[in-house]
C-alpha cells in the first residue's frame, strides 16, 4: 500500500525573479524565537517582513537588497535552511538549560572566598569541605565527569615543556658550559 503524502506544513514561494520571496511556516514547527533568530541573521542581505497569515502560520517576506547577488527564490531557500539551524539551536538550548545553569552556579560558588562566609553559614548543610560550600547539587553523571576533569587538568603539569624558559632549555649544557660563551675555534 503506497504511503500517503503528508500535508505540506510550509511552503516556499517566489513571486517574481526580482520581487520578494515568501516563506510560510507553522508556529508549532518554528516558534517565534526561532523565527526572530533566523530573520535577524538575514537583515544584512535582505529586507525582512513578518506577518500573521492565520492563527497557526506566519508569513515571511524577503526582499533581496540591491547588490546581494541572490534571487528571491534563493533567498527564500537559504532562509528555510537557516530556520532548521535555528530550530536545532533552540531545541539544544532548552535541553541543556538546567545543566548549564547548575554548572555555572557551581563555578560561581567555587569562586566565592571561603573567608567571606559567616560562621553560621559554615555550619549549615552537609559537610562538603571549604571548596564545595553551598554549591548546588549536580546530577551524579555530571559531577563524575567534572571530578575526572579536575584530576586531569593540573595546570602545573607541562608535558611538552612549553613553560620551560629558553635559557634553561638551550642556554647551558649539563656540564655548566654556556653555549654563548664558547670561543670559536682557531682564535
Amino acid at each position: 500500500m503506497p504511503a500517503t503524502k503528508a500535508p505540506a506544513t510550509r511552503s516556499t514561494k517566489a513571486r517574481a525573479a526580482d520581487g520578494p520571496g515568501f516563506v510560510s511556516v507553522h508556529k508549532t514547527l518554528y516558534p517565534t524565537d526561532v523565527l526572530f533568530g533566523t530573520a535577524f541573521a538575514f537583515l544584512d542581505r535582505c529586507y525582512v517582513h513578518l506577518d500573521v497569515e492565520d492563527a497557526d502560520r506566519i508569513r515571511i517576506e524577503l526582499t533581496p537588497r540591491p547588490g546581494s547577488g541572490m534571487s528571491a527564490t534563493e533567498m527564500a531557500g537559504e532562509f528555510t535552511n537557516e530556520l532548521i539551524n535555528q530550530a536545532l539551536r533552540f531545541k539544544l538550548a532548552k535541553q541543556t538549560e538546567k545543566v548549564r545553569t547548575m554548572i555555572v552556579g557551581r563555578a560561581i560558588g567555587e569562586a566565592q572566598p571561603y573567608e567571606s562566609m559567616s560562621d553560621e553559614g559554615r555550619d549549615e548543610g552537609p559537610d562538603r569541605g571549604p571548596d564545595t560550600y553551598q554549591i548546588p547539587d549536580l546530577p551524579p553523571e555530571v559531577a563524575k565527569l567534572l571530578a575526572e576533569e579536575d584530576d586531569g587538568l593540573d595546570f602545573l603539569d607541562d608535558p611538552l615543556g612549553i613553560a620551560v624558559p629558553w635559557e634553561e632549555k638551550y642556554g647551558k649544557k649539563k656540564d655548566g658550559e654556556n653555549k654563548a660563551d664558547k670561543e670559536p675555534e682557531g682564535k
Binding site: 517565534t32 526572530f36 530573520a39 525582512v48 517582513h49 513578518l50 506577518d51 506566519i58
Partner: protein, 71 residues
C-alpha cells in the same frame, strides 16, 4: 508605500522607534488599523522610498527582537 506591522509580531513601541529613526529621511505617517500599525512612507524618489521602507522594516524587526529579549 504602505507598510503593515501586526501587533502580535511588532510591538507598537518597536514601530514607533523605527518611525522616529527614519523620520528625518522620509515623510512618514503612523496610524492603527485593527491589529496592524500602518506606516505610510514617502521619499524623494521611488527608489529612495523603497530603500527607506525596507530599512524601516528591518529596524522595526530589530527593535521587536530586542524588546522581546528584554521582556
Amino acid at each position: 508605500m504602505t507598510l503593515r506591522f501586526h501587533k502580535k509580531i511588532y510591538p507598537r513601541t518597536a514601530v514607533k522607534a523605527a518611525v522616529e529613526t527614519y523620520g528625518a529621511v522620509a515623510r512618514l505617517s503612523l496610524r492603527v488599523e485593527g491589529d496592524y500599525a500602518v506606516v505610510e512612507v514617502e521619499a524623494a524618489s521611488p527608489e529612495a522610498t523603497a530603500a527607506v521602507a525596507g530599512e524601516l522594516q528591518n529596524w522595526a524587526l530589530g527593535q521587536a527582537i530586542v524588546q522581546r529579549g528584554e521582556g
